[in-house]
């Protein structure tokens, strides 16, 4: 009787036998996968790009493992692409040309909390929200809170210099990473930054944060821990016009108030999230503004009243204060799951991440609706209004012929409109493969050339996440160096 399933059956080992054998010898058999199922899944992240091709996948457990993997990949002439939870929306973790994929999900230990330095040392696979929950009983949290914080990892946050609703007051990831141990593209290990207030020399840590895996792989991260404010007030304001919401945001900042967060959702988004969370979002408003202030008890009430008054001046039809923590959490859950919730309307979405000057918010928003209408696609707007970071979502059904072209055309116009208003390409999602082509709209040849020099000083042979960020004309001709798609792949 055959009790063991699959025994004796040939496994689908995939190509790259020699490379895989070396990797397995170095870090262990159970830490290397190379079958077609694994390769297919790790060819994708949360973006719309489906032309990635993964090589062997490694699950290192230590800095030494990562170092070994990188050195073996170099020896075999292969590139290396790091990956966290794969929730990126710009294709930063999409492997191009069958590189070795380094999944850091098993390096997920919280190593040490240093109360004196107010720093926590973590491995890159620690989930953002897990870290905050771990710190909560101590009265601290990790401030950057991307909408995907329940799943995204610290390593991914570092690589993308991620933002989040509460980065308005607390600053984005770069502010909160003070040191990182990294494995450089040649396999050398270096410590960038440090716990001292003023580390010596150039701020290479600053260069590395936001590098999207093109400068190396962080294996230990020193993150700042932020004391949690004793009081929080969350306001929900409804508007009959999305421009009124945008103007309220500008007016609040102009009045000298720095809320912890200010987020706007338009009607389509609000309806989709309300259907999922049942948080009491007004589905008849053209836009809602979620504003949060935190600090000392008396201060937050004063700020909340001031924000409410400004909202009413700007035409808010309703101003509501979240009654308790439960309502507050539900409102935030709605905001943070907005991207996923749109699947109730259409199965696919494509979004941009441009940042425009706050004063231009209303104007650029109006343009996004016009542009989408001209191209016959639906746009939904949900954005970090406080720092002018737009997230126009173009939603569609990829099964409809020709729709992808229209979506990309509309996306390109939205980007151009944002840049024309004095904005930049990406607030927090990174450039990845998605926005590469737009880099020339924002930067001159000279700019791009200097960025490439920085990159090449870390990675002279273009082995680290090649084909990303810098447009190919301005990067080392990295794609040509890559191995062609191996035989036997079915994706």
């Amino acid at each position: 009787m055959k009790l063991r399933r699959h025994s004796g059956r040939a496994h689908d080992g995939g190509p790259d036998a020699a490379l895989v054998a070396d990797l397995q010898a170095a870090i262990g058999r159970d830490r290397v996968r190379n079958d077609s199922a694994e390769r297919a899944l790790l060819s994708r992240d949360a973006s719309v790009f489906d032309d990635g091709v993964a090589g062997p996948i490694c699950f290192p457990g230590s800095t030494a493992h990562v170092q070994a993997v990188v050195r073996i990949a170099v020896r075999h002439g292969r590139a290396v692409v790091p990956r966290g939870a794969g929730t990126g929306l710009a294709g930063g973790a999409i492997p191009l040309g069958a590189p070795v994929v380094v999944s850091l999900t098993r390096m997920n230990r919280i190593l040490e909390i240093d109360h004196d330095a107010r720093v926590v040392w973590v491995e890159p696979g620690v989930v953002n929200l897990d870290l905050t929950k771990h710190l909560q009983p101590l009265g601290f949290h990790f401030a950057p809170d991307p909408s995907s914080q329940q799943v995204c990892t610290l390593g991914g946050n570092l690589a993308n210099n991620s933002g989040g609703p509460h980065c308005l007051a607390y600053g984005i990831t770069n502010t909160h990473i003070i040191a990182a141990e990294v494995v450089l593209p040649d396999g050398e290990v270096a410590m960038l930054g440090g716990l001292d207030a003023e580390p010596l020399g150039y701020d290479l840590r600053g260069a590395f944060v936001g590098g999207e895996g093109t400068l190396g792989i962080a294996t230990r991260i020193a993150a700042r821990i932020t004391p949690t404010a004793p009081a929080v007030r969350t306001l929900l304001m409804s508007f009959a016009d999305v421009r009124d919401a945008a103007n309220t945001v500008s007016a609040v900042i102009a009045a000298g108030i720095v809320p912890a967060a200010m987020e706007v959702m338009d009607q389509r988004i609000t309806r989709a999230v309300e259907h999922y969370v049942h948080a009491g979002y007004p589905t008849d408003a053209a836009a809602v503004l979620l504003a949060e202030v935190d600090g000392l008890h008396d201060g937050v009430d004063i700020d909340a009243q001031a924000i409410a008054a400004i909202g009413r001046e700007q035409g808010a039809t309703e101003v509501r204060l979240a009654r308790d923590d439960n309502e507050r959490m539900l409102l935030w859950k709605g905001r943070k799951t907005a991207f996923g919730a749109i699947a109730q309307i259409a199965p696919d979405y494509y979004l941009h991440d441009t940042v425009v000057p706050r004063a231009k918010l209303a104007e650029v928003l109006a343009q996004t609706y016009d542009i989408a209408e001209r191209h016959g696609v639906i746009v939904m707007n949900v954005f970090h209004a406080g720092d002018g970071n737009l997230h126009p979502l173009l939603i569609f059904d990829a099964r409809e012929p020709g729709v992808l072209e229209r979506v990309h055309a509309a996306g390109a116009e939205i980007v151009k409109a944002s840049l024309a208003a004095g904005g930049v390409l990406s607030g927090e999602h990174g450039i990845g493969v998605e926005k590469q082509a737009y880099m020339t709209l924002l930067f001159t040849d000279d700019d791009l050339d200097h960025q490439n020099r920085l990159r090449k000083s870390f990675d002279p042979d273009c082995r680290a996440n090649p084909g990303k960020v810098l447009p190919s004309g301005h990067s080392c001709a990295d794609i040509q160096l890559l191995t062609a798609v191996p035989q036997g792949m079915w994706v």
Partner: protein, 387 residues
């Protein structure tokens, strides 16, 4: 290969990945092939792109605990349970999974006398120390079953298969508690020997349908059916969908988790001194993610114990998963280790779990676990000491 999944249902997933942290197998492996997003992508590869059904893909589907923790985490409302159940059904039908020896093992579940005989054999083996501890069988199976006589016909108590053979003491406690609220109880016993939940998990949905028909024919149509096993109640509440008939829908509407039912009648209990215990509530997945009535457990339990504490893992599965802990012991053990960590941080005297599988799985790791009904029965007057 056509897995038989509805194309629209398969398309609702946008691959955002917000489910990953809610998936116990991804949590312990960090591997996309062990995640809901990955499994759905593989379903698409197989059904829509005609990718070959490799052993690795079958394994990806088989390692799913089917806890359905990903469903509440999904903002797109993907009905993952339906997707994996259909996939497992197709795999079983085409003999890609659920091998013959496993199918044989499911036969006694619907045959009470055969199950009883087998259980006695295991009970004897246990007393002769012939059952290896690595099998994780944490309950001491009784050699002789205590009688469980009917006390009236206000409600049914569904007794089921393995639970009745191995843990009738839980049913007896449940019956006492229901009686204390003033209801006469009819245990279903051989009239409705098995709900078919384990079969449905293994993709043997035809068996489940047969059992559903049998149970619906056997039970009176005017009595509520109370269930003290979260997995069984979830399966019986799904008969309406499984059979697709109005009768099945009406039957499912009469099925209640026992805590869910008693929460409506909490004022009928006598006032008693609470047990001097700090109790951590462990939510069985099919109570929390599928039936979504886990809060009722707290309502019912609160008056009877000194202190109720919550676990800090957002209801992540414990790895029991019906027969999962026996079929995938390595993964089930890793998943359980996470849960035990969470329990340790809550520092309870005892854990309350309303599902027999979870209790046994945790018991095997040395965690003292009782059914909420056992705790309440303890607190009620005329109590018998727990063994």
């Amino acid at each position: 290969m056509d897995l038989g999944i509805d194309a629209d249902e398969l398309n609702t997933c946008v691959q955002c990945g917000l489910c990953l942290s809610a998936c116990p197998t991804f949590r312990v492996t960090g591997d996309e092939t062990r995640s809901p997003r990955g499994r759905i992508a593989l379903m698409r590869h197989v059904q829509l792109r005609d990718a070959p059904l490799t052993p690795e893909i079958v394994q990806s589907f088989e390692t799913c605990v089917q806890c359905r923790g990903c469903e509440p985490a999904c903002p797109s409302g993907v009905q993952y349970g339906r997707l994996i159940e259909q996939t497992r059904t197709t795999l079983a039908r085409t003999h890609r999974s659920t091998p013959r020896w496993l199918r044989l093992a499911y036969i006694p579940l619907a045959r009470p006398r055969l199950l009883r005989a087998g259980s006695v054999a295991i009970a004897v083996a246990q007393r002769l120390h012939l059952v290896p501890t690595r099998l994780g069988l944490s309950v001491r199976i009784p050699l002789r079953q205590q009688p469980i006589p009917a006390s009236g016909s206000d409600v049914y108590l569904f007794t089921g298969c393995v639970m009745d053979a191995w843990q009738r003491d839980v049913h007896l406690a449940t019956q006492r508690v229901i009686e204390a609220a003033g209801f006469g109880v009819t245990p279903t016993l051989a009239q409705a020997p098995c709900c078919g939940a384990l079969h449905a998990h293994a993709g043997l949905t035809d068996h489940t349908r047969r059992m559903a028909h049998k149970m619906m024919a056997a039970l009176r149509p005017d009595m509520p059916i109370l269930v003290d096993s979260a997995g069984c109640a979830a399966a019986m509440k799904d008969y309406g969908h499984l059979l697709g008939t109005p009768e099945a829908g009406a039957f499912s509407a009469r099925v209640f988790d026992v805590q869910q039912w008693l929460a409506q009648h909490i004022d009928r209990f006598p006032k008693v001194a609470p047990l001097d215990l700090r109790v951590a509530v462990l939510d069985p997945c099919h109570l929390r993610h599928v039936q979504k009535v886990h809060l009722d457990t707290r309502v019912v339990l609160r008056p009877f114990v000194r202190e109720l504490v919550e676990l800090d893992d957002d209801g992540l599965c414990c790895g029991a998963g019906g027969a999962y802990s026996a079929l995938e012991p390595a993964l089930a053990g890793q998943i359980r280790a996470r849960k035990v960590g969470s329990i340790d941080r809550a520092r309870p005297d005892v854990v309350a779990s309303a599902n027999p599988g979870c209790s046994m799985h945790l018991g095997a790791a040395g965690v003292p676990t009782l059914h909420p009904m056992q705790l309440i029965a303890q607190a009620l007057p005329g109590r018998r000491p727990l063994d």
